[in-house]
């Protein structure tokens, strides 16, 4: 087994795993696009490992194999930054939703209570108007 075969197997495995996961549709739009690009890069590099040497040569890097590692780490850092930005946005939305739920729940309870007391009042007054015909001296003011 030579080095070229090893890298191509690793590259194809990574690309295959990503493609499989993206195909299962667990990723939201732009995330899927990003990972498809990673899969493509992984496939390309495994198919043409000499591209690394060529890129190293034209970018003036003395030890070309370090180039994909540097690029990969840079990409990972950017990706993590984006993740934290997204998480902050989600956290903000979650907090505001939580607050809104609390406020709406309170209003719902208030509305229910107002309705219930309305019903009691109308039921009570109609009951009293009926009894008033029978007993003229009914107690008043306790509604």
């Amino acid at each position: 087994m030579n080095a070229a075969l090893t890298t191509s197997i690793i590259g194809v495995l990574i690309a295959g795993a990503i493609l499989y996961l993206v195909r299962r549709d667990h990723l939201h739009g732009s995330y899927a696009l990003w990972w498809l690009a990673v899969a493509a890069a992984s496939l390309l590099l495994s198919a043409f490992p000499q591209a690394v040497d060529w890129l190293g040569h034209i970018t003036g890097i003395y030890y070309p194999p370090i180039l994909p590692i540097i690029v990969a780490i840079g990409m990972i850092l950017l990706r993590m930054l984006k993740m934290d930005i997204d998480r902050s946005r989600s956290e903000r939305q979650l907090r505001r939703l939580t607050q809104k739920i609390g406020i709406l729940e309170q209003e719902l309870m208030e509305a229910k209570r107002a309705k219930a007391s309305d019903n009691v009042l109308t039921a009570d007054s109609s009951a009293r108007s009926k009894t008033a015909q029978v007993i003229p001296l009914a107690k008043s003011g306790d509604a």
Partner: protein, 242 residues
Amino acid sequence: MRQQGGSTHRLLTVIPARNESATVGEIVRRVRSVVGGEVLVVNDASTDDTSAQARQAGATVIDLPYGLGAWGAAQTGLRYAKRHRFRAALTLDADGQHHPEELPVLLDGWRRSGANVAIGTFPQRLSLAKRVAWRYFQLLTGIGVQDFTSGLRVYDGHAIRALASRKASLLDYQDLGVLMLLRKKGLRLHEVPTVMSPRRNGGSRVFSSWPMVARYMLHTTVLCFAQFGWRWRAPVRAGARA
């Protein structure tokens, strides 16, 4: 409980509370008798009967489904105030360190100063660690407030709108971030010296241990860094809609 508030001075008192069943009922009753108006207790996912105690004492209660922290709960109250068009909102802690009897002093100082926000402070209660911390943040931000963390405050309508906004939702503490946001909106702060008690149930959450203090200092310094540059920006007129 909104019936007392006429359209001339609609004041909402917001009391964020987390597991304060021992004191919250008494505080609500005292606030109602001293200030009147609607009292809103924001129950920050308490595990005791804070919510029931507050309701029994005559407060409107909002129960948050999970804990948002002191500022998250206070902001819920400010969003409620905005939604129901209150002219002003008063906040105080439920643990008994702020005396409801001091509220007229605070409100009076606030009205007389004409500022958008008044903060009730009790300079004597500050420990050395806090004094050092505040001095540091005063230098860093240029905000000349003695006690950043005091939760005893009055906000007017402009401040309510500024703090109910999305921008204020990612703040974790109700102190510097809130004050910097208010200043960015061109709103004026005023301090009113008041009398406070030491906390009954344990000490300050922020200043409980050195790692917590370090965490807090770091967090707030980063916050200052993120807001850097505001202090040189020309203040917007207080009346301008943010």
